[in-house]
């Protein structure tokens, strides 16, 4: 599903990437450690995390992840947003906590997958 559309569904702020108009995700992985994020990242995986630092973009970039979803309504730094734009990853900021955000995203992606099937 298009990350912009996914953001609207969970009432998240959306910071689009520069390169791709509509990055898409089919899976979600939520974690608060870098090792878990990188070990489970892929070009189809939206990474959801309570972390908020520039290394997140490095992980997304290395694994070709379409985007990052920060949680708890945090304000991403200007540098994080700028780096995300450069690397082609979108950023979402969910108003919910880590687990609730993950649950909502999984539900919407599952519903979309069921609709496609």
């Amino acid at each position: 599903m298009n990350l912009s559309e996914l953001s609207r569904k969970i009432n998240a702020r959306f910071y689009p990437s520069a390169g791709q108009c509509c990055p898409e995700a089919r899976e979600v992985h939520a974690a608060d450690t870098m090792s878990s994020l990188i070990a489970n990242a892929s070009r189809d995986t939206l990474l959801v995390t309570s972390l908020n630092n520039n290394q997140l973009i490095r992980v997304a970039e290395l694994m070709d992840a379409p985007g990052l979803c920060l949680v708890g309504g945090v304000q991403p730094s200007a540098e994080l947003v700028a780096r995300a734009r450069e690397t082609g990853a979108a950023i979402m900021v969910s108003p919910f906590g880590l687990e609730e955000t993950r649950r909502l995203l999984v539900e919407y992606l599952a519903a979309e997958a069921a609709g496609r099937a």
């Binding site: 450690t33 870098m34 990188i38 290394q55 490095r58």
Partner: protein, 293 residues
Amino acid sequence: MITLSYRISGGDFDTGGLATRQLKEQLARIGVGAAAMRRAMIASYEAEMNVVIHARTGTLWARLDSGKLDLEIADEGPGIPNVALALREGWSTASDKARAMGFGAGMGLPNIRRNSDLFDIETRVGRGTRIRSTILLGTAVSAAADLAVGFEAVTATQERCRKCMRCIFACPTGAVRVHAAGPDIRTGLCVGCTACFGECRSGVYGIRETAAGALPTPPEEAVLVITRGFLSSISLGGADRVLAALRSFGFSEVRLLEEWTEALRAEARAAAVSGSAPMPLIPPTCPAVVELV
């Protein structure tokens, strides 16, 4: 063999991961497949961040040889007093600063080991640590080379050439020709491995900017030839499943080397009898190149 090296600054979280990113760009140009790339990125990033978190400085080396990628990360740091403990999931000595950034979960070394076909660690307390990770590339790189898919990213500035001929011997696919005017790259054979870059001391070779990062696109009718040994080395519930998986990569046919050799032999025999071949047959040592050398 292609060798790449990158410096890593200990304690610098801003540039942490940069070496791995640069490695990724090079591996993408060479045509390393997605699965091997993914494993390489995880192993390299975890090892690099270990240097950033624990050491003063370090170096990442990547050596790409036939069918495998060797990563070696050596640092000048405190070393590891108990390797068995360090390899245990959840054990970490990372600083509070690193933990606040999401590192220090004790999954770094286990992640490297899990994504390596061969893994080795050497450490001396007070001196440093050296990690070696080997990732077998499977068919991805060799298939790209075999397919001769027309990689057009490598450029040659002919006037710089000193006719040393090193590039001819370095090129694994025979894509480089050196004429009186200078080198010429047969784009139909070039796989963009950049071996010619490493050998040339005159700066003849470069990357076309618009093509940087582009990967070879397999032709529509690509046949993958594998050995029986390769087939039997993958135990996934039968040869049919492995063949189906290989076809899903985009190959129109997957054939065994033995039967392919027999088919080629039959075609060559028929062509020899009829006196006409459908395409020129080039012996392993091309007389034109020998004469030029």
